[in-house]
Symmetry: C2
Subunit: 863 residues, 2 copies
């Protein structure tokens, strides 16, 4: 009854309010009631997602609003000072320099982790690695403020990557906030270990980030999957869709309420014709855009990495810049904004347009060339920026592409929150527009089909180019979907898909994606993907790549063994086997556990206990001989114990680094502690040497004791592989389960270990370099049947081969790829046409036959 | 040099050909050359995918062509006989009955596996289960022919599900075919075990199936991922996209070449207006469509299952139908086609339209109601079918929805190759159209916004309804994408996404998806998904659900132990532990291996050897006493040995079923074999009894021997879990790795086993039933702290609770869900509006402030 009453109450309030639109207070009361009711009824999952979507939509909208204001302010300043060019220049240049400097400074002071895109870090976090400080409130504030300022400066920077990070931050903070309410959130916010639950939420958050940035829910989900995951749980699919859709919806509804738009539409709405979007014979041009974009994307990633590496290598510059942290951003900003100053060089590259305006003008479906450039443009249209009395529209487009290309690659290396997606998107659109305008100039009447003339739409080419280049840089296919959602039209689906796939094919064979490139530069833990034609991986087995010399401890191990293992290796975990003979794997123990155990076994308390026992024994022995005052003796013992401890502890380096401080701390802490051993009688017969000898003896004795395994935290089921497991399967399992290492066993016996490092080496060693596939050193043995002797020489030879191949320069690789791909394309076309002709004739005959049959039968029926 | 020459040669040929379009023969030669060149250069992966795409596009196109012909033939027959209604009726009814009967008969004779959708089977195969006969050439032929006939009959059946199966079949066959060329295909076609490679290809094939069926590459990839996978490897993503895009491209290009279309466009192209696709205030109507579709989808699945179960339960009907296999399809077809006979009842449900024509008329953007139905329709338009002199358009739509609903649910149970997607899609479109027409009648001038009048587009509602209902039935979100690609417009993205998500939310909480439903009916191995609000799963641990009584063998096991284990259990694998005391898990052995080993140990050869040895010994002992002729004796021995064997073997049932035939076969085969023991001398002193006793003794002795483990195939690393592993993690691991069972260990010691069955029970036991969550029997102990005593009573009580809840009827659940969802919706709206008002005022003030600021500053700059 209660529920029904509730419903009626809510409904009545609702209808009442729909009439008057005023009584907000009642709503709040009602909302609180409803919330409690719903919190108890339905799972809290979707409430979390709705909140996340809502918050992110608001953040996105407010940020867009602020960015638009900042950009408008610059334009206003620039426009207001048009009497004096120098003042105008100063205003044009100072404004972004100040903003970028502020952004860089703020980010550096508040949270240096907020700099850069954030997608590489999210990829690493979603792989299971805990990156501290990447999901804190500080980072959130730094990222939001820094990004707003950076984008407001007008540099070619993007909003997408940081937004993925912001959404993840938002999800993490929301989780913490919601954990006050208990329930599911306790799991996701609990303690030091990021649970599975949290990973699910973070994956959804990534989708929200892209979704509310572009108002592209589907594209957002797919893009975030492609960029951050290696294996995707389909059961999390709805989370992403739900949150991203809600977020995109709110984001666009806010725009409607703000009277920016009449109704919910796409961000960059296009108006291409629906009935004949493109001719079949235009497809080669689209394919050319795809292939060229592939090379362009690879070049962009290469250039970006080159700049970063150059900046790091130049020690002197680097030192200077490290001192004056804000100098590098300021200098770069100065350079870029000087070049884009509209009365200066900027007039040749539409410098006065913002990114958004540029895109709108690219996606315009009118042709620029045919319309004569000067007459038909009305002034308020952004297309006017592409009109120049001296220069051709093609020249301007080429200059725009070239300049923006290096500018974007340079700007994305700045230590401010920024992404590379949007600049690349714009460059791609420009390239597409260039091709489109060329086609329109080449076929002014359109490619003729039967009778009707359909002119070429250069805007369609721009859309294709944008999708292809951004797909090539990020190594994703879902940019196609993002483009559909951004433009609100899906009519060019096949050209876009073809171009994106070709661009991906080219780019993936040349360079890693921009995010993987950053991951490598930042040295984050990663696992490279298996390449395109990776059938070789089926030949390599775990036994070829595993490390056979495994560090292990046995059930009978002494503390000395632990000590030695801790001294030698630097593995995170140590294997526990039954005995050195049987080698049966029982589990694995974390290094920290071992250290704690060793420290505990040689701890201050046990030392003191020993000394006390010894003293007791001494007392019993000596008490017959002499009896000094008990107080004095007690103090003396105390003193001696502490000096003894402090003198001998540093003398024995029990384990290299991590163990030492712990021991030191105990020994120093000891000096300040009073030991309640006041009743001990004591003699002066002990000498330091003897004492030292005794303690060392005790220690040796302690080290020789067997380890007590009862109090340990053992991981009883570390992941095990078999010798014959293929590299492909190993890679799958590692990326599926986010493993760091796995033990190789043979009927329970431990025979080796494979860690991420070995796997990485094996995969990268066998990567395709210029068509020649180099196999990893040991893989060839199995085939040849020989084993043992010639291993080293062969391995080094292979290494030489490998080195030689990597030294071949980029240009040659480009040329070769071009040749191979052109051939591939031509070959496909050949096959295609021959098949087409054959099929056409066949079908035409079939069709004729049937139409004859039909006419006959109609005659028959008429009769 | 060679490559460059090659390129030039190809290019020259290419340009030459572009001019003349005639010399096909040269192409073929060239293509062969090129192929060899490319096969050696680039990985063969993409060649396979291209071939797959090409073949599937051709199959799809040819099939569509044939279906269109069949449907046209029916129409022509029907149209030709319009003088006599009875003849017309006979023609109308006989045609589909014949076709469906042929389809059912053909399928039954050639390959009964081809019946039905095929998606459930593909899901099971991709999970790692080997279903024999599902991927053979026979099935391919049966599926293609059967599907063509079934769809040509005009019944409400779909093409999508079978196409997924056909594409997979095609991939498997292509794999086999390509394995002649060696290389990568050897792996995918090799032997009995389906490799990882094959799974990758099959996953891509599923995408191709959907992609070339609807010309929807993106939607195809996503749909196939959602429907078939639980965890998806992102590195396979490009495969699906590549193949599906190519396939869709060819499919549409064929249509262009066949002069069906002018250029490449969508299948069901819509022409909604772009500038104002829908009003914000229409969103509640879309949400209503989503929620109603959710209930409708659940009802459809329920109805479908009900019909199947009813047909199975009715023993007498079943028996009769089993005898006359073709009777059931024929009767159903007769019923459905009688009801849709256009001059009869069909006139009230647009019976003369095919599925495609119906969809085209639904997606039309003209309103039916406002245009007065009679005047404006031109006759050749399909919309004329919805015009009826007596009945209202709403009545016709309602009749159409209700009739098609049960017809589709019934038709999809027929034993012919058919899918449920398309019929459901049509029903959804009809429902959407109904809502749209109602809205158009309600607001004839459109929902008024500021000044301009935008009339309501009922076609948009139809699109939303189609996506929502098909999404609800299949539990997928990607139907939204399929709809975009089918209609070629993405302007309604937000309404569609909202409706699809709502429909999924409702449907998933009520019923499994249609594919999961079929999987359960067919009793295929499956693992249920964790539900929406599954935070409980974090409380259940493996120790609560595992089976503690594990069958195992030790390193010291005798053959007798093997024998006993084989007699008792029916597990597929048996655990191998070190010893019964230590219980350290060493690996697992397949049951078949054990059986083979036991059989081998007690094999004919060893028996004969024993008898020969015994005979030898006897001969030595007896030879002194008597010496009969050697030939006779030899024969006698032979005879005796064989009779001995045959008499005693069946007397000892070594293992229940699988072992017996093997033994029998050896003993019967033995009788025909001549044993080369001619030189043995023999006496008549042996009695049968004694011999029997001897052999039994030998056998007993053999059974007491220890097992020799050297020749065994042991899986040395079966998957291990720990007691504290949560149910959620277990589910993840099982579905990630496609496990069948996993052992639970504690520091190397085997303590239990979890199989798919236990997991399934645990998950389904804790599923949400009417909001009350029932926990699995053992989970409550940990919380209460008590252990042991009250376990059984509590478990049974919980069971009672569970039983009681399941007995609550469907209607009540519907009502409750409706109430909860309505409340949720209202609550959201409430929150929404209050927030909106607050935000609007805030932003308006902000905006006013800034505009004031701007005007001030403009005044300032003018000054």
């Amino acid at each position: 009854h209660c529920k029904v009453e509730h419903a009626i109450k809510i409904y009545s309030i609702y209808t009442l309010n729909a009439c008057s639109w005023s009584c907000c207070a009642l709503f709040v009361v009602c909302a609180v009631h409803c919330q409690r009711f719903l919190m108890s009824r339905v799972g809290e999952d979707w409430i979390f997602l709705i909140l996340l979507g809502l918050v992110m939509a608001l953040v996105s909208f407010v940020m867009d609003f602020c960015i638009a204001l900042l950009l408008q302010a610059q334009k206003w300043m620039y426009g207001g000072l048009d009497s004096n060019v120098i003042l105008q220049y100063l205003a044009w240049v100072t404004y972004p320099v100040v903003l970028i400097s502020f952004s860089a400074g703020f980010t550096h002071i508040v949270a240096p982790q907020a700099a850069g895109s954030g997608i590489p870090e999210m990829k690493t976090i979603l792989r299971g690695v805990v990156l501290k400080e990447y999901l804190t409130l500080k980072t959130f504030v730094a990222k939001v403020v820094g990004l707003t300022c950076a984008l407001g400066s007008g540099l070619p920077l993007g909003k997408e990557g940081p937004f993925v990070h912001i959404a993840s931050l938002c999800a993490a903070l929301l989780c913490k906030f919601m954990s006050f309410f208990g329930g599911i959130y306790e799991y996701c916010a609990s303690g030091n270990k990021w649970g599975k639950k949290n990973t699910e939420m973070l994956a959804a958050a990534c989708a929200v980030g892209v979704g509310c940035c572009f108002a592209a829910p589907i594209g957002g989900v797919l893009f975030s999957i492609e960029v951050t995951s290696t294996f995707f749980a389909v059961r999390n699919y709805w989370r992403g869709f739900f949150a991203a859709t809600f977020s995109a919806f709110i984001f666009r509804v806010l725009a409607v309420w703000n009277r920016d738009e009449e109704t919910i539409t796409a961000l960059f709405k296009t108006r291409f014709r629906l009935d004949f979007p493109f001719d079949l014979q235009e497809l080669p041009a689209f394919a050319v855009i795809g292939i060229a974009s592939g090379f362009g994307g690879a070049l962009f990633v290469y250039l970006n990495r080159l700049i970063v590496q150059f900046m790091r290598k130049q020690k002197t510059i680097n030192k200077f810049l490290m001192k004056k942290r804000l100098l590098y951003p300021a200098l770069v900003t100065l350079l870029i904004s000087t070049l884009s100053f509209p009365p200066g060089f900027g007039q040749f590259m539409a410098g006065q347009l913002t990114q958004k305006e540029t895109l709108v003008s690219f996606f315009d479906n009118r042709t620029w060339t045919k319309q004569g450039m000067t007459e038909d443009f009305n002034y308020d249209s952004h297309s006017a920026a592409w009109k120049h009395p001296q220069a051709n529209v093609f020249v301007i487009l080429v200059i725009f592409i070239v300049m923006k290309f290096w500018m974007s690659a340079l700007a994305t290396t700045l230590p401010v929150p920024c992404g590379a997606f949007m600049p690349v998107f714009v460059i791609g659109a420009a390239f597409g527009r260039l091709v489109g305008e060329s086609m329109a100039a080449w076929f002014p009447e359109g490619i003729n089909t039967d009778g009707i003339i359909y002119p070429i739409v250069p805007g369609g080419y721009a859309v294709v180019g944008a999708a292809a280049l951004s797909g090539a840089v990020t190594h994703t296919v879902s940019t196609a979907v993002i483009v559909f959602e951004l433009t609100g039209q899906i009519s060019h689906i096949l050209p876009i898909m073809i171009a994106v796939i070709l661009a991906n094919a080219v780019a993936q064979s040349l360079q890693p994606s921009i995010y993987d490139s950053i991951i490598r530069i930042k040295k984050l833990p990663y696992l490279p993907e298996l390449g395109w034609g990776h059938h070789e991986k089926y030949n390599i087995r775990v036994e070829d790549i595993m490390v056979r010399d495994v560090r292990y401890i046995t059930l009978n191990s002494t503390y000395r063994d632990l000590h030695e293992i801790l001294l030698i290796g630097n593995l995170k975990t140590v294997a526990l086997v039954e005995s050195a003979e049987s080698m049966i794997l029982l589990g694995s123990i974390e290094r920290a556990q071992l250290q704690a155990l060793l420290t505990q076994h040689l701890s201050r308390e046990r030392r003191l206990e020993f000394i006390r026992d010894r003293a007791d024994a001494e007392r019993k022995r000596v008490s017959v001989v002499s009896t000094p005052s008990s107080e004095e003796g007690g103090q003396k013992v105390n003193h001696e114990i502490s000096t003894e401890e402090s003198s001998f502890t540093p003398a024995r380096p029990i384990s290299p680094k991590p163990l030492k401080p712990a021991l030191k701390r105990t020994s120093t802490a000891e000096k300040n502690i009073e030991i309640p051993t006041s009743n001990i009688t004591h003699t002066h017969t002990f000498t330091y040497l003897w004492k030292h000898f005794k303690i060392e003896e005790w220690e040796e004795q302690q080290l020789d004791e067997q380890v007590n395994f009862n109090s340990w935290k053992i991981d009883p089921a570390p992941f095990q592989l078999v010798e014959r497991t293929s590299l492909h399967k190993t890679h799958t399992i590692f990326s599926l389960l986010g493993l760091d290492h796995a033990y190789v066993t043979s009927i329970g016996r431990l025979i080796g270990v494979v860690s991420l490092r070995e796997l990485r080496k094996a995969i990268e060693g066998s990567m395709t370099v210029k068509g020649v596939k180099v196999r990893p050193p040991l893989a060839s043995f199995r085939d040849s049947g020989t084993s043992g002797t010639s291993s080293e020489s062969e391995a080094t030879e292979l290494h030489k081969l490998w080195d030689r191949h990597t030294s071949i320069n980029l240009f040659e690789r480009f040329v070769w790829c071009l040749v191979v791909l052109t051939l591939g394309n031509l070959y496909l076309s050949c096959c295609f046409f021959s098949l087409a002709v054959a099929l056409m004739t066949f079908f035409l005959q079939l069709f004729l036959f049937f139409s004859q049959f039909r006419s006959h039968s109609e005659q028959f029926s008429q009769l």
